[in-house]
Amino acid sequence: MNPDYRPYHPKWFRRRVPIFWWLRQAAYVKFISRELTCLLVAYVAILLLVFVAAVDRGEASYLALVGWLSQPMVVAFHVAVLLGTLFHTVTWLNLAPMALVVKVGGRRVPARAILLGHYFAWVACTIAVAWALVGP
């Protein structure tokens, strides 16, 4: 390397990254929304565990939890949670073809087929869980 070269040249201008850089472009907003809504997925998982614990403690405990969940404000909050987790799931599944390169008979499986496979698995899991909870 040239001895005159200085990696941190004092006269070069370096732009600072603003804290709200992600608000400047729709694609960045979508990315941050996708990443942040993963917290809602974690919340739903914890809520499920709380349900299991309430059932374990007995009928009174379970009914108290259901009573709390039936309040209008709590219902409204959970509708928002549902929308957030749906957004997360859809944006996440849509990225799957980018990472998965599957070859069948020397030919690459088209992105649409991989996407359909994921959505099919999602619907199948949803039906299985609903069947387990509600019964046939």
Partner: protein, 247 residues
């Protein structure tokens, strides 16, 4: 259609000023003029001190990448007419320190590119008398997409991770590593994995996906990085479950 358009060009003259400023130029709109033609008009006719990089004018050399209206593009491949009525704002690529006007310092990228060994690595070269390393069209198709990279660095400019974590090796370097990994003649995948399995390598990527959106050559660096993550994960589980397996 108006005859002229205003081009707001970022100027930075370190010997005169400590902060960049925007300077407006009225540039004639000619059919089929690119942004680069507008900049050349400014330099030829209005202000010869304007500094920027360009060479081939046909989307091959990768040196004229700039931010045009906030989006990283090749200025030789962006029609001025597509951005009328203007004003058209031209800035240097984000993520690189500005040396002067529209010229950024790319030393960081050059170092990262070298770190991933973007060339065919052989454990043992066969003697010249034995001839070339032959390849089938199918083997070529495996990596051809990634070999289209022209090192224009638009993907670095689109990547927010690179700006926030400057150690991140970045989209083009990883796509080029993948280009050689997928080449049937190459045997350097493990050496590259040693560099890329670090946090600053593939795991630094959080899949914003903008690198692939702005790529003028459809290289899809975001896809290359995700494929790399999948193969690194598979390798890890194989090494845990089958420790007797040879690397």
């Amino acid at each position: 259609m108006s005859d002229t358009v205003t081009m707001e060009v970022l100027r930075y003259r370190p010997e005169e000023e400590t902060e960049p400023t925007y300077e407006s130029f009225e540039v004639p709109v000619q059919p089929e003029w690119m942004i680069l033609d507008g900049l050349n008009h400014i330099k030829d006719q209005l202000d010869g001190s304007l500094s920027y990089r360009w060479a081939c004018r046909m989307g091959v050399c990768g040196s004229c990448g700039m931010l045009v209206n906030g989006r990283p593009v090749l200025t030789c491949a962006t029609y001025m007419e597509s951005l009328l009525p203007g004003p058209i704002r031209v800035e240097p690529l984000r993520g690189f320190p500005v040396i002067r006007d529209l010229v950024g310092d790319i030393t960081d990228f050059m170092g990262k590119l070298a770190a991933v060994k973007p060339y065919i690595v052989r454990e043992e070269e066969k003697p010249v008398e034995e001839g070339e390393y032959l390849q089938t069209p199918e083997e070529l198709a495996e990596y051809k997409q990634y070999s289209m990279c022209i090192n224009c660095m638009l993907c670095y400019s689109a990547c927010p991770i690179y700006r926030i974590e400057p150690d991140f090796i970045g989209p083009a370097a990883i796509a080029l590593a993948q280009r050689y990994n997928l080449d049937s003649r190459d045997e350097g995948a493990q050496e590259r994995m040693d560099v890329l399995s670090q946090h600053a390598g593939i795991w630094g990527c959080t899949l914003v996906g903008e690198c692939s959106e702005v790529c003028p050559k459809d290289v899809d660096p975001a896809g290359a990085i995700q494929r790399y993550k999948v193969s690194a994960t598979v390798d890890f589980f194989k090494s845990v479950l089958m420790p007797w397996r040879k690397e």
